[in-house]
Subunit: 152 residues, 2 copies
Amino acid sequence: MSEALLIDGDIASAISTADEPGKNTTFTIGELAKEFGVTLRTLRFYEDKGLINPKRDGQNRLYSRRDRARLKLVLMGKKVGFSLNEICDMLDLYDLRNGQVVQLRVALDKFNQQIDVLKEQRSHIEQAIDELSRTVEVVSGMLKEKEAAEKK
Amino acid sequence: MSEALLIDGDIASAISTADEPGKNTTFTIGELAKEFGVTLRTLRFYEDKGLINPKRDGQNRLYSRRDRARLKLVLMGKKVGFSLNEICDMLDLYDLRNGQVVQLRVALDKFNQQIDVLKEQRSHIEQAIDELSRTVEVVSGMLKEKEAAEKK
DNA sequence: ATGATATCTTACGTTTGCGTAAACGTCCAG
DNA sequence: CTGGACGTTTACGCAAACGTAAGATATCAT
């Protein structure tokens, strides 16, 4: 595998990164929140939505490395424009390292679909930019006329 | 003015288009809704938000050409990514045909700011596309490996 | 013992842009 | 007079992704 080529923070690396035994195996909600720059509320919300399922130390949440990896995937999914629901559907991806070919294909499909969605969004935005640029030109023109007129 | 160069549906033309006396001067809510492809609810909602202020024929709304032009501006504002609130702030622009230089400047500023916002959005989307494209490559690789392994 | 720190659950609030009834008025054609 | 067509107001609903208390518990340090 070309893991050396993968930038940290990459979806693919998050998928294919294995646990490193010997390191911290569990995290508190506060630790995770700080590490990823999210609020406690967010983590609890994700749990509510079934995205992460930490165990409990009494009442307190106890996150495993696996939970942490899933969180990473959630946040990256958001970064590329997936909704939490879509992410939820795909999240079994984390287990896809060991997973089945069929699931990989499904994931690949969704990724490609999302690429199309993003390209469409980009196109709309570019149209808007064009429109506004034209407007700026015209309004600039009006402005100059007015200014000229006021000098009279 | 270079009005001939302005495509219909253009913000600038909507700003600089004068009333044509002799044509229909008033519109019902249904007429306007049909013309612009929005619902009655939408028009009432815009009124609620202070974007348009039709007069009344008894209880019924009566839209003037000016109201119609403002609606046009609202819809175009949406097209280029302004929120209704932002549009509301800028909407006095319609009167800027006759209006003051200062206001034109303000408008120009907002347009340029919005262009920047849009460019940022575009940049984010492009990053997401890149990210996803890389992911697709990697996952494709994983897929091939798996398939090869299954053939054993 | 006391205050600070971290955690918990429950649950209502926020934002944007309308959708979707419900229940009623008005006017015109058949 | 009856049924559409068109209009009115009031007001709750929705989706997404959390924010923001409120009130309780538990542990830790001083």
